[in-house]
Symmetry: C3
Subunit: 202 residues, 3 copies
């Protein structure tokens, strides 16, 4: 199944983003691998625990852990030598977000959950890894401040469901949804888009 390779690619991308997020936090090599792993499989793991899907995917198929380990060590070595290309990382992260959001939505869809839960589980799959990464490194999660991140995932998954209900083939809807997530995310970065921010009334 071709999605499997995409899934592993998404894991690699998020592992890299976890390593980069761990810079400046004084972590050592093992700590960095831990953060990379939580970032890469945290979203899917949380989804599967909430949906009671066992055994967990990375327990039965250890390729996921292998990909994380190799990605994290290579990135660790790389950033000791030269600064990472921020631009490439943002694009890769957006691709990972789009891929995981749609893959997560498919999982909930296959388990016959309602549309609301499909959207929610897809979004959790896409964003929870980065969320956990920020919590364990003791930051207010970025996702809570830059909502066009999760918003992009939500929009793409809703489009995926709508297109199917209009009769479009599932695989086509999948690709359209995924590209939509990526495009919204990248445009939001480029234009600095934001949702309204909560603040005290004066």
């Amino acid at each position: 199944m071709s999605f499997y390779l995409f899934d592993l690619a998404g894991v690699a991308v998020f592992a890299v983003s976890g390593v980069l997020a761990a810079r400046d936090r004084g972590l050592d090599l093992l700590g960095v691998i831990v953060v990379a792993a939580i970032t890469a499989i945290g979203g899917g793991t949380l989804r599967d625990i909430l949906l009671n899907r066992h055994p967990l995917f990375w327990i039965t198929d250890t390729h996921y852990l292998t990909v994380i380990f190799v990605s994290a060590v290579l990135t660790f070595a790389y950033v000791r030598v030269r600064p990472p290309p921020e631009h490439a990382i943002l694009v890769a992260d957006a691709v990972g977000l789009g891929l995981f959001a749609l893959l997560g939505a498919r999982v909930a869809e296959a388990a016959q959950h309602s549309a609301v839960i499909v959207v929610l589980m897809g979004t959790i799959t896409g964003v929870a890894g980065g969320f956990l990464r920020d919590v364990i490194t003791a930051q207010v999660p970025l996702i809570l401040r830059r909502d066009i991140y999760a918003t992009a995932a939500i929009a793409g998954i809703i489009l995926y469901l709508l297109l199917q209900s209009f009769g479009l083939q599932r695989s086509v809807a999948f690709w359209v949804g995924m590209v939509t997530v990526i495009a919204i995310r990248l445009l939001a970065i480029r234009w600095g888009l934001q949702l309204p921010i909560i603040r005290r009334s004066e």
Copy 2:
């Protein structure tokens, strides 16, 4: 079943408290909704995962998510216009605590768990949402510092169990336990009650 409406009311109250806690953290609308949801259903979700009760209540009945969404958006809009009435919020939060603590205890009781686990699960249901809310907004959880919060839940649940063992009807014991939680919590706020605090010996 009339408890269902109370349950939804408790969810709404905690969603509001989540939004209010998210003020001053620079969150946007979606981040606020996420914090509201975690505050409102985090306790029940943690309880059900620990007790292996699946599917989770908010996955099969999406009214919970609807109530959270509406409560969060309305509160979000409100606090942009005027400051929230702190007093009303504290009372509402105490009511939510009492309700969730007793409802959570009943769930564990219905599953034939021992009295210790009934008390623990009721307390988790009542306080874990606020606990998670504080962790994800990177604060030392308030509950860890103001223990008359969890203590109130523990006292009310123990009373609920004792009254039943003395032959009182379950539904009456439920109400007495819940009112006890609320009363202890409100009196603790009013009188500034605290348990002893840990400190280094000099």
Copy 3:
């Protein structure tokens, strides 16, 4: 089964370490007990949720909670009177780490998981309680900065598996693995050993 008593001893040691970690955070008695409990049973609970082992050990056998409660209250009382002996604590914590790592590995081994998962689950059992303790008290987890902690667990578990594959009896391999974890951990403290730390390239 003699491991049961060791298991309870490990729980007591980690409960004490949780109380000591909670000093200086302004927690009250109940908050301290909560931190002690999360430190003591958090690792085993996370392992069992990931492996879908239900009911959880501390739900069916409430001796765990009793041990935590008594350990936490006694430690709480003690540190109000005099400073804890740092040295004894580090040794006890290393013993707890070694014991939990090997006990956790045995659990995954008994469930027929692959060697990678056995190592991972043993490590999670040994270190996740302290990890959660640091997250809930809003610190960058120590484990993420001092990796010879988790590294010691990993090394001991790998040795345990290797010795068995060389034909050594399981119980002997268990003890050798556990002593290895403890020895590495204590030597790392004594000599200030560290893995390479991530840093930006200049």
